[in-house]
Symmetry: none
Subunit: 125 residues, 4 copies
DNA sequence: GTGGTCTAGACCACA
DNA sequence: GTGGTCTAGACCACG
């Protein structure tokens, strides 16, 4: 009866998110080769099929392209990467704002909260 | 090897968070009585022991007091409630800011992102 | 060394095509329930995972919707069904026209050929 | 139980079709010599026996003649070539019309569909 | 070597 | 009962 409390993203999505992060942060650049399915599977301690799904998902989204017999590569299309960055950003903000509103904070409360947070951060918390 | 991908908070903490929320939002006010351990256990579909830990945790933090034979009550000390609100807020902001920085956003990027988000929210997404 | 001569669509796609046909022909109507993954797997003599992929693909395309714990259903959106019909039609025509041009027929040859074909069909070939 | 989903023409027929195409398009003219069985086998990456069957099939149909010690030649009989062209055309049209009718299209739907297709083709897709 | 598909069999969450 | 995810291990086509 504990189901309600698990709510984790599927592993193949978590791994995709991790790759998305690397791309958005520039650790993986346009045109870079990703690890092979099998290698990534070992790195992640996961079955190759799961990585296959990850790569499939990322290709569907257009952030990655596969060249037959050669491997999987980050798209050359910088626009797609920028769009991805925006999309991930919005996703995170949505979750954050929702949590804050559940605590009873208004939009301006939220902004003030973050500004305050940055101020303390600067002063060595 | 899959443990790495689960990363869920313990259930008793999740339930505590939920109660904290109700307190901070004023749904549960200073001095209000919480449901009994057994009742809460049924409501949450969880073992009473788990709720016992939840209540223990909340008492440790001082946000709740148990009066023997009477039940568990929200603290009368409004300061503690206010502090709780701030603490929860900071916790959420920390996670949020960390995620945003992992995507390569600076402090001012973050503020601009949220302002933009609120602007779109107002215009009906 | 015979690889070049196989060139078959993956099974999960072939099954999807078959379902698309049934939908387009009206044998499966908007809102109808598809067989369960397991049942369809038995009917098709295929592993349930393969059907899962078929259903996943059809959902991605938006022609099918899954209701958790209840099953998979043809979309209620008649527009999507109409679009599907057009897409399948164009796909078939493309293959056909390509074959005809490989035989050296021009566009008007092709039209005349089909008209002639229909004429004979009517006269009891 | 997967046999049902393969449904590929035998290789020797696929190769025959390819030769038929060349003849019908005039790339191979009446009286032209075909490559030797061995050469063709290498070109196609196929066992010579397979090509032997291909040539046998084409001879049976009368589109090709073998002169002992000299090789295999396209028939001198232009009528047979013309007939072949018509037969191949009808074959393709049959398959096409069948597919379209399986999608629920009528004869006039089909004609309109192709005309529309040509119109778009001309306008640069 | 690469990615892509398929099977067999397992477990999970939702309703 | 439903669909969804995951593993293990196999085979294929492409370059």
């Amino acid at each position: 009866m504990t189901e309600e409390f698990l709510a984790t993203k599927p592993i193949y999505m978590q791994i995709a998110d991790r790759v998305y992060q690397q791309i958005v942060r520039g650790e993986l650049k346009a045109g870079d080769k990703l690890p092979s399915v099998r290698e990534m599977a070992i790195q992640s301690g996961v079955n190759p099929n799961t990585i296959q799904r990850t790569y499939g998902e990322m290709e569907r989204v257009g952030i990655v392209e596969t060249k037959r017999g050669q491997g999987t590569f980050v798209t050359e299309d910088q626009d797609k990467i920028n769009t991805l960055k925006v999309k991930l950003q919005i996703e995170i903000i949505q979750v954050f704002v929702k949590s804050m509103k559940e605590l009873g904070f208004s939009n301006s409360d939220i902004l003030r909260g973050i500004e305050e947070f940055f101020r303390r951060e600067k002063d060595g918390h």
